[in-house]
């Protein structure tokens, strides 16, 4: 794939670039290394702020170059040796359009579903970016808005709202910790990162090399600390941590490469696991009273390992999976020990690690589209190719070019037709002979993106949405007088997580109804109480309605984020008439049936 690069540089060898790194570190410059696969070293790119030397075109993926993100001053001072190169793509058209084209290329003549109507779009975008459904007023307002650009505006509004950081914190907590437990400092870390829209590579660097001294970053240590905490008589789970770093940041589950080269996945070698493992073997949890922390013993020698199938003795030093081994630096006698975590953090989350950029691109795509281009998300390898390889490459290089800006990428995804497609084919009318109506919907594969895929609601999304729908949200958001979270909310959160979350260590990547969840919805006290009349809540509002038609509108807007159709409206009116003697109960039961139905419990 050809891209045009604007280059500003001078030739530099690998040794030279390492020297520069050291100099930059000595200057305490913000010397993040982002090696990406680029080109003959003569070429480097400038971004607009820097002097443009010359332009050229070259292939992505040929040669490696280092890039440093620096203050302009430092950069200018080192101009002779340092290169900077944001990747500007040759195709200047909007990314969402290009995404849609690449998806459409896989339709193979099949007709995709039409775009979602405003209500379906609104519910989806709120759930994805705000983690909850909108209020009935929000919905009314949006549905009645005639601005043709209202969807883009809504996307912007949600990306800018405080709910964005909250949602992303909850989401990335579940993605990264997989329900192992939570920590206040970790929560703060994630929230803060998404509030500031911290670049993904920077977040990963901070997670991979947590700094206990830095108040704003120390919470990141929880990712390691929780995974290697003592657990009864079990050995410290360093292999599990190694596996998770591979899974979550590189999309490669190396578990079966611990004891031998992976038997079924040729790309996964034992050295890839052992190289990463060699770093983590020296790590132990050292949690303070209120802070998660880890300590690292210096690495003195390489890790020896043998395959269970081949008794040849092997050894490896630290290694980014699928990359080359990182030499263990000479330890000065009195110098502070060289941190392998720091080394790992500088080498792994870079554009040069192909799986690093592909993994985040794939995960963000999954987040919005409900199915990974590579699926399962942690099995990137040549025998499990992406459903749309060019699309994945495009997203991966774009997110690098945009400094791993997650918010930017989510915006691009949300603006695409692929995202905004309906999750259902139009209901076939009696004489319908359109291609869409005659499609056998059961045959549609999720990786075709002909329909918007239905997505699981996390326990937190379901809770927030239930509270929103039943009009209990504001009441429960209010902290107690002494600043503690509302006790009922805390308990509801615990119960929702118990009922709807996966077990610890299980990724929550598909819809997962369970008998447990059903019994909870059917019988749990606290949930049913949300449907008792209470000043200002849904039932209270409905009982104050002057007509059953208005009531129906308000109920459907509140719960389903849409207006009822005539049939539904009439049914409800009839129901209320029939149960007129127990009107409150009748409304509550109708609302319960909506809240437990698929239209509510799934993000569609």
């Amino acid at each position: 794939m050809n891209h045009r690069f604007e280059v500003m540089a001078s030739p530099m060898t690998t040794t030279a670039s390492q020297r520069v790194i050291r100099r930059l570190k000595a200057l305490k410059a913000y010397a993040t290394l982002i090696p990406i696969r680029l080109l003959p070293v003569e070429f480097l790119v400038s971004n607009a702020r820097l002097i443009k030397l010359f332009s050229t075109t070259f292939d992505v993926g040929e040669v490696s170059v280092k890039r440093y993100r620096l203050s302009q001053k430092v950069v200018c001072g080192l101009m002779a040796t340092v290169m900077i190169m944001p990747v500007l793509h040759a195709d200047e058209r909007l990314l969402p359009v290009r995404m849609d084209e690449l998806v459409a290329a896989g339709f193979a003549g099949q007709q995709p579903a039409p775009l979602a109507d405003d209500a379906e779009f609104l519910r989806r975008i709120w759930l994805d970016l705000a983690g909850r459904i909108p209020t009935s007023d929000d919905t009314r307002h949006f549905l009645d808005d005639t601005d043709p650009d209202k969807r883009s505006r809504m996307i912007e509004q949600l990306l800018a709202a405080p709910t964005y950081a909250q949602r992303m914190q909850e989401l990335f907590h579940v993605v990264l910790m997989e329900r192992r437990g939570d920590h206040e400092k970790w929560k703060q870390y994630l929230h803060n990162a998404f509030e500031r829209n911290k670049p993904w590579d920077q977040m990963v660097r901070e997670v991979l090399n947590p700094d206990p001294q830095d108040e704003n970053r120390r919470g990141a240590a929880f990712f390691y600390a929780k995974r290697i905490e003592a657990n009864g008589q079990n050995p410290i789970d360093h292999p599990g941590l190694t596996r998770d770093v591979g899974r979550l940041f590189l999309g490669a589950d190396l578990q079966c490469a611990q004891c031998h080269d992976h038997l079924f996945i040729d790309d996964y070698k034992q050295r890839d696991f052992q190289g990463l493992y060699s770093v983590y073997l020296n790590l132990s949890a050292k949690n303070g009273p209120d802070i998660p922390a880890v300590t690292e013993k210096p690495m003195k020698k390489k890790l020896e390992f043998i395959s269970v199938f081949d008794p040849t003795q092997n050894e490896t030093g630290p290694r980014i999976p699928f990359g080359s081994e990182i030499p263990i630096p000479e330890q000065g006698k009195d110098a502070a020990p060289v941190s392998m975590l720091a080394l790992l953090a500088s080498e792994l989350p870079t554009a040069q690690t192909a799986l690093f950029r592909k993994n985040i691109a794939n995960r963000l795509w999954f987040l919005m589209m409900g199915r990974g281009l590579v699926h399962p998300l942690d099995l990137h390898h040549s025998d499990n190719p992406p459903s749309h390889p060019e699309l994945l490459d495009l997203l991966a290089s774009e997110i690098v070019a945009h400094q791993y800006d997650i918010k930017w990428m989510l915006r691009q995804l949300a603006l695409s037709q692929t995202y905004q497609r309906s999750s259902r084919y139009p209901i076939a009318s009696a004489n319908a002979d359109s291609a869409a109506a005659s499609m056998n919907v059961e045959q549609v594969r999720p990786q075709s993106y002909l329909l918007a895929n239905e997505k699981r609601m996390m326990a937190e999304q379901l809770l927030h949405s239930t509270l929103r729908a039943t009009g209990n949200f504001e009441r429960l958001q209010q902290a107690t007088v002494d600043g503690k979270p509302n006790a009922e909310l805390t308990e509801l959160t615990r119960r929702f997580v118990a009922a709807f979350a996966n077990e610890p260590r299980e990724p929550e990547d598909q819809i997962n109804p369970s008998v447990k969840g059903a019994l909870f919805s059917l019988n749990d006290d606290l949930v049913l109480q949300l449907l008792s009349r209470r000043s200002g809540n849904l039932i209270d509002r409905l009982l104050a309605m002057t007509s059953d038609e208005l009531l129906a509108d308000e109920l459907y807007l509140s719960v389903f984020t849409r207006r009822p159709n005539n049939e539904e409206r009439n049914e409800l009116v009839a129901w209320l008439t029939k149960h007129n003697d127990r009107r409150e109960k009748a409304i509550a039961n109708w609302a319960w049936s909506m809240l437990t139905s698929m239209e509510f419990v799934v993000n569609h």
Partner: protein, 408 residues
């Protein structure tokens, strides 16, 4: 309580998965899996090698089947041997718990990049609930209960196990006091109507899954008598024993009687790396007594032809006796016992060598056993495949087949 009309209104069709053919709907075969976690020693149970280097201290005793001997620690079970089949030539792949437990429970199919279901979830998927409508997969285990979705692998949580922690009922089992049963019926009818409407124009997979778990939940709510331990007779308690595994196997009998398709009973802490022979005396007798009582009861109640009973661990134990008088992990040559539906009675299949170290004739891996059990349960050959969102996946290892000598 819902009347017959309401129960009919649930519609049998919604219970059963689309993949289940009509003839399977009439299949009321059941399974009891007894899982002895950590690894029971084959040499102290099904495959004794008395007075040999690795044979240990115990004697072999005759059983109700002439010519078949088992270890003296199985003295009650020996009297039920005419109902049992023992495979002594099990040879599996993993000697670690972490990998072995999952591998054996999943039948070790070829890796296709998905988490395969454990046997209970597989049966729940392939055969669904019995005509009782009870949840198809109940797991009786020590300590905490709950819903264990992880057994289901890629099949999804709805095929997970409902775990009764030490026999106790799951949370939220009883109908909430604020809801009358009439209201309950009405609200669920509405819920189903909304779901039907939602499903139009969409793939039905998730809506079906959602309906399915609600039907199971409602069925379970009507059988809370299952959890009343006080209703067992003293004689039963005496015969099964009042220890954990005794109580749990007695509950398993009742659970099978209520029509649950697949019941798993786990016992833990069988990993006797040290002091194996005292450990085996202590542990195996806890298995022997209630197991023999259960086989006898299932037979007397004419249930044994319908219920497949399986006893296994993640592996056997090393022939070698280590310095700590223990036995370590041994997948190379061990035994699995079974009885009931579709299984031959009173047979030993396969043989280890005189030292008990390796299989002497043809070794069988767990994949063969999964084929054997699916066949014994009457899963038709054309149903031996899952459809994982378009990806066809064989339900058991492609290179294995059923073991004919174990089947009727």
């Amino acid at each position: 309580m819902l009347g017959a009309a309401a129960a009919g209104g649930l519609g049998l069709g919604t219970f059963l998965q689309p993949c289940v053919a009509d003839e399977l709907a009439k299949n009321d075969k059941q399974v009891l899996l007894i899982w002895l976690d950590g690894g029971m020693s084959q040499l102290e149970s099904w495959d004794p090698k008395p007075n040999t280097e690795f044979g240990g201290p115990f004697r072999a005793i005759p059983t109700s089947v002439p010519g078949i001997h088992v270890c003296e620690l199985l003295k009650h079970t020996a009297k039920q041997m005419h109902h049992l089949a023992v495979l002594r030539s099990v040879c599996t792949q993993d000697n670690s718990h972490s990998a072995g437990v999952a591998r054996i429970n999943r039948g070790d199919p070829k890796n296709r990049g998905v988490e395969y279901p454990y046997l209970g979830s597989a049966v729940a998927k392939l055969l669904g609930p019995t005509s009782s409508g009870m949840p198809p997969y109940i797991w009786i285990k020590p300590n905490s209960g709950g819903f264990k979705a992880s057994d289901a692998g890629f099949l999804g949580a709805k095929y997970g196990a409902l775990a009764l922690g030490d026999g106790k009922p799951p949370e939220n089992l009883l109908l909430n006091k604020s809801i009358s049963s009439e209201e309950d019926e009405l609200r669920n009818e509405l819920r189903r109507k909304f779901n039907d409407r939602y499903a139009v124009g969409r793939r039905t997979e998730w809506t079906d899954a959602n309906s399915y778990v609600y039907e199971l939940a409602q069925k379970l709510m009507k059988r809370d008598d299952l959890f009343d331990e006080s209703s067992f007779t003293d004689k039963d308690r005496q015969r099964y024993g009042t220890h954990e595994l005794g109580r749990h196997l007695l509950l398993a009998r009742r659970t099978l009687e209520t029509g649950v398709r697949f019941v798993k009973v786990n016992s833990y802490h069988w990993d006797s790396h040290g002091d194996n022979f005292n450990a085996s005396e202590s542990l195996i007798s806890q298995f022997d007594q209630p197991f023999a009582a259960l086989i006898e009861d299932l037979h007397q109640r004419s249930m044994l032809d319908n219920v497949l009973v399986i006893v296994m661990s993640e592996f056997g134990r090393t022939p070698k006796i280590n310095s700590h008088v223990g036995r370590d992990h041994w997948p190379e040559a061990w035994s699995i016992a079974m009885a009931g539906a579709g299984i031959r009675k009173g047979v030993v299949v396969g043989k280890t060598n005189d030292q008990g170290t390796f299989v002497e004739d043809k070794p069988y891996d767990i994949g063969h056993l999964f084929h054997t059990w699916f066949k014994a349960m009457g899963v038709p050959p054309d149903k031996m495949e899952y459809d994982n969102q378009g990806q066809p996946l064989p339900v058991a290892h492609d290179d294995c087949g059923p073991i004919a000598e174990l089947l009727v």
